[in-house]
Amino acid sequence: MVISPVHYIAVPLLAAFLMPLLAKIHRELTRIVPGLVILYLGYVSVVLMNQVMAHGTIVEVIAGWNAPWGINLVYSPFTGFLASMMTAMAFVIWLYSYRFKKVDSQPALKYFILFMMLVTGTIGIVLTGDIFNFFVFLEITAISSYSLTAFYRDRDGAEAAFKYLLIGSFASAFILIAILLLYTQVGTLNMAQIAVRMHDVPTHMKITILILFLVGLGIEAEMFPLNGWAPDAYSQAPSPVGVTFAALVVKAGVYGLIRIIFTLFDVHGAYEYLIVMGAITLVMAELAAIRQKSLKRMLAYSSIGQMGVVMIAFGIGTNEAVFGAIFLMFNHAVIKGLLFMSGSYLVYNTPNKEIQYLSGYGMKMPLISLFFSLGALAIVGLPPFAGFWSKLYILIAAADNQMIGLIALILGVSIVEIVYYFRVVGRLYFGKPSKGSIMQKPTYGGVIAMSLLAIVILVVGFYPDVITPYIHNAADALLDKAQYIHSVLPNADLSQIQNLK
């Protein structure tokens, strides 16, 4: 069988449908099969990334219909990097959730089916080259996320899922309307061809469509003030799902936003819009985070804040800034993954998952506390951990564009971030232990998962070169709009296309 990008979508989707049948053969298969599927996807990633690094973008035509008529998948250094990153994170999440709740097979079956759907959806969003197909994957992602948020079937979970559903349906509606309007203007759904024809769309129409996209995808990318659903969803969903949101779902949302602004449209103001909204998102989220009593909510707000920085960096739009932004997306997936994973074990049995009960856990759960502290040091960007490098790149890019005020803002907010993370770390290790707290022993899978992430943080921190070549290519690929169009539509007229920055 020839390895192709379509496996990313076909295999997990197929697995999701087959799993009820497999469960009848043996209960344990429901847990094992997703892992095998993701491992296979990991193998696909390795093979394809090697190809892409050597030969450039791979375009997979589905069912023999060539672009612009059929649906195609674009596996460029950028999308490939994101897809591989998501696969890797999905594997870690699978390890973590293998025996997260020792319950009977029925919830596990549901959980893993939804998880497979989520993986399909998020990777599909990243890989697809067709705007309607993009919408379909977005819906798959959204619906599986809603269900996973309400997985525990308690009151809070249901409420959070409902909020998510309410806001998410706005997103779907806006994006669908935007696609319809776009279709009336350009007469195609192929993203490369839309980009070619975008030049001829009347300005007011272009802006209206863009705004609908920005709001719709802004909801998925957790942009302020559209992110009200996020803290609830993060904190009420089962812990592995929180990680999934941070590592996969929000990344797909940001990807959508970036793809629309960088490739489809040629509106200069959108970049400034990204910077401003990113800055507002950052400030609001971090300031909200410092006052949170619940650990998971704090992590959720911090996650939103990081997405704000990612948006700012994309908004600056130079090669260096985009590089920093993609690096930060990677770091955020890894580090926030580790924080959510270790954090959920810390607050496993505490009332309302509140931080104040965590005093002295460092002695009782040394390994988990160590992981959490490592994550905290890394996420605030302290060297020599992974988070430092992305921060440095973004700040350098901002300085090169004379945005000193913006740097001061990011750094100022980082101080807030330090305060709330180090409060927790200090409490973990040096608070007076509270009596009667019950520790939750982490599963073996969980420990392995967290160790993997911790190792990545250390390795990237000490030697960023293991990852930077891929990110450099990814940044080049994202910025080179003409190359994207050319690889999908070899015969397109590129004279109207200008690489924006």
């Binding site: 863009l210 003030p225 509106v267 020599p384 700040l395 980082s414 305060v419 960023p464």
Partner: protein, 615 residues
Amino acid sequence: MNSLLLIILILLGGAILAYLSKRISPMLSSIVSFLAITSAALVFFFLANDQEIVKISLGDFVLEWGLNAYSWIFGAMVMVMATLASLFSIFYMKGKDRLGYFNLNFDLSVMAMMGILFSLDWVSFFIFWEIMTWSSFLIIVYNGISEGKIGIKYMIFSAIGGYAMLLALVVTRSQIHSFLITDLIHSFAGFSGNMQALLGLLFLTAFGVKSAVMPLHVWAPRAYADSPMSYTAIFSGLLSKMGIFGFGIMLIAVFSHSVDGTIFVYREVLAWLAAITSVIATFYAVIQTDAKRLLAYSSIAQLGYIVMGLAIGTKLAVMAALFLAIMHAIYKGTLFMVVGAVERQTGITDMTRLGALIRKMPWTFFAALLSIIALAGIPPLGGFVGKWMLYESLITSDHYFLIILAFLSSTAAFLYSFRFLFGIFLGQEEKEFENVKEVPFTMVLPMLIGSLLLVVFGTFPGLLFKPLASAMSFLGMGDVSWNMSMLSNGWGDHVDTLDVINSVVIIFVLVAIFLGLKNRKRTRYVSTKDIHTSGEIPTENENLTYAVDFYKPFERAIAPVMKRKMDFYYNKFGEGLETFFDFLRRVYTGNGQTYAFYVIVFLVILIVFSQQIFF
């Protein structure tokens, strides 16, 4: 292998080994840590030289490390004092919890300091700077979260400093497309006035935090006092010197390439801030009843002197500042070890309860005595030479008001110096401390070595002047004349420290001989109670000395100055901010309808203002 890299790797490996070996035996962890630092020190003194350059390419950055005359001075100081402190630490920390954790961070701090000194580019400088910050944070909170939230306060101020530096260095890079420190030094003069002012302010803030200059000092007293003493010996003695190291680069090398008015203002303002810091901190030190706090405030005061010298920036002033910096590292390191020794043997550091340990812990007392003499700046020990030069440089550079402040604080320093000695070692013997013993040899040894260094450098300051002079000429100060034992001054005459030393020694010897002859036959050991005043014989419970309200009149005199505490305003400011954040947080109401409303309003705003936003 390159010796600079080797030093960093030994310390890093030592840190990790120390952490792991705790599983075998806690004591082993401390020994591993000590051995790592010692071997790093040996490599530093016998292998490292200024020809070596390490280039490490990471990401898109090239990290460059090297050694020069200026960083060698600081490196030697760090290595010697860190070795002493880690030797001290073996027994001091014996039996305490989490030794692996402590030693890990101890070694990481030392590694970070050496890294800072080796750095030739700002990226590695910043990386090591931040490692130093978080490793010291982790040790400050080691003794538990105190009510004053000192760990967080330290972290906030360090972050302010660190991020000021980060901002400064990315701005620098956008100007000169290089992260090399030498490139900044050479191109600084070419920057626009605003850029010079901005960069100057940012770098001075960054280094000001670590050297605890007012108003960035509020973290220091508690942070120094709350850490384990074997760490404070390097925390106060060495980590703060990294701020001084940075000040040296900025104030001497970088600013000297600028003739702009703002920089001159910075110098004057900084000198004043430092002078005020030293006066206020001295006052605070006088009224402390806890020996650790006393030393902590004294550290801040001494750092004030050093910064003042660097800010004045004449040759003599810089020489004085660097000399004092080294002296301060030695005597304050020794004094914190002394307090650590006392704490370990008695369990307390409260000077109102301690007393008369001179007989129980004679060696500790001896080390304390010498260090206190050096601290107070009394000849013949090192502190005197530094102080002399500092005063002289203040006079010759026409800073008459500053010299008043400097005199004030150094005179007041006698008060706390005496109280420290008296409160702990002299006075009346207490029942409580009857069975106190001298600390083990490995704790005495580092203190004695520290005192010995003070005597040597006090007698032959020239031993230090030579490397200091080459350090200063490296920083671009030109040739600095020095002599083994001669202090020249602005009026053309000389003070020979050897004369001073000789006179003092002769007097001591004569007195000793006199006392020895006089009391030759009647030697009799007495207890404190073995006296009679006007025929009354004191009973067992009678207090003959006093330790509470030691300097009451002085406290009353300075009360108005002490009323306003910087800390108070910071706390108020912090509380205000948090209240404000809490207000902002309410944007997230938790109500789905509100969120939906936000989405609609946001869409409408975007559409209505689309012309303004997207064109």
